[in-house]
Assembly symmetry: C2
Homo-oligomer: 281 residues x 2
């Protein structure tokens, strides 16, 4: 019998991470929801899952440093990326009228991203919950009177909720970028023409050290698409850099660039080479 | 009569932002707590406050892009920085015994940063609340039986709570960096020897464009302390960079570097020049 492909993600069923998994891999997947990020990396290591979908940065909230740390501490390759627009929907038990609503449950970050909606409807009370999708699950199971929840359309579909108002978020430029990690037995998603490489490197913080490191790429006409410094606590003058560039690790020009970068940095770790998800991601 | 100095911050009284204000400016301040970040920038513009304390990055969660946007959209100068270690305390009404506790209220991010504590005390139920300090305020006002809250020591002091267990956070490397903004009538904090400059610039994303921009600093032996790229949505091939370096805007070497950087970038905005808060910040 063929072994099932299991995709680990953090959150409840219907979380934005599950939406990213569907975007990357299509429908018909088996999922392993995890409470914490580290659990998905462990699940992948132990074989409890053979793929994982990992949020890595958000256009409003920046990079998820914890997941960069797990990418360094575990040894799973990035094989794909995608961006999910964070669309918040007002979800109710089917047939509920808007006029009957009194309380709206969700994660406080999601509630705070819908402040214009709450300002327009001052009779609705914000009720905090540990998870966006979890608030839909609770609402459908316990049916508190007058309750709605804010979550993804997938959470509405998963728990049988009805979307009463779609896209009530204040900011439409709220996107989360996800990486797909996999074990060798998980089928690779289809490839696109352009490739991207993600890596981490460290340098001593002497003036010009980053400039010298970037020469490895600039002198070979390689395009950067992300750079971010992260001070290393306890070692105040050392920096870790996150770097993404366009190119493929099998391209000789990229091989030379990585060798050159290795010469001028203390540590270099390629986290993966994967199809680039288009200019807007 | 001398006008009072009023410091705006986001959150309830006792929030980590208030702790940052005390660290930067000492005790005896008057505060203006704001619900949203944008409100503090407006309060500073309108004169309702004459200083504001703004979280700009966290060692676990990355840069607060929203506040970089407000720094660009408003015209307030950064005049100081500080780093606050995020210490979570278990706070109860005075005299409460640990054995009597059933539920612990806090913001879900704080609850998730104390998972080891909850694993060691499985009978304690996590209850989400919109704010860490707000959970102490509610607990002291409403006294739900068996309730504790997780928040800063300042929140305990402000609302008369007792710290039953100090520092229950999983990760001691959780720091938030704050900027102090001020109106001209607010007294400047005392200066230190080393200075730092924060700026934002944009370049077209051609190969080597960042390399050419960094030459402006590297060729003048100026030390970078932060660099971060942020893709500009809707303009997929344009990038905004956040950059901090050591130096003073009045130093001729720095003036030349800024002029040179201005030549090779489409936009450059110095957000402030302020005393550097030491290597570990």
């Amino acid at each position: 019998m063929k072994k099932k492909n299991v995709v680990a993600f953090q959150g409840e069923r219907g979380a934005f991470s599950e939406l990213a998994a569907v975007q990357l891999l299509g429908a018909g997947l088996e999922f392993l929801p995890c409470e914490r990020f580290e659990q998905m990396f462990r699940a992948l290591q132990d074989g409890a899952a053979n793929a994982a979908v990992v949020p890595i940065e958000n256009t409003l909230h920046g990079s998820v440093h914890e997941n960069y740390d797990h990418l360094l501490n575990f040894d799973h390759r990035i094989v794909a990326e995608t961006s999910v627009r964070i669309v918040h929907n007002l979800i109710v038990p089917p047939g509920t009228k808007f006029s009957a609503l009194k309380q709206v449950y969700s994660h406080p970050v999601a509630l705070n991203q819908c402040l214009r909606f709450f300002a327009a409807h001052p009779k609705l009370e914000k009720k905090t919950f540990y998870d966006t999708a979890g608030s839909v699950k609770m609402m459908m199971a316990e049916r508190p009177p007058g309750a709605a929840a804010i979550a993804s359309s997938l959470a509405a579909a998963n728990y049988g909720g009805e979307i009463l108002k779609a896209s009530i978020e204040d900011d439409r430029k709220n996107y989360t970028r996800f990486f797909l990690l996999r074990r060798p037995d998980f089928p690779l998603p289809k490839r696109s023409a352009a490739s991207k490489v993600s890596l981490v490197f460290t340098t001593r913080n002497s003036p010009g050290s980053l400039f010298r490191a970037l020469a490895a790429l600039a002198l070979r006409d390689i395009s950067l698409v992300k750079i971010e410094s992260r001070p290393m606590r306890g070692r105040p003058w050392e920096y870790l850099f996150y770097l993404d560039f366009l190119g493929h690790v099998d391209d000789p020009n990229v091989k030379h660039a990585l060798a050159h970068l290795g010469e001028v940095s203390d540590l270099i770790r390629v986290l993966g080479c994967y199809p680039a998800a288009g200019g807007e991601s």
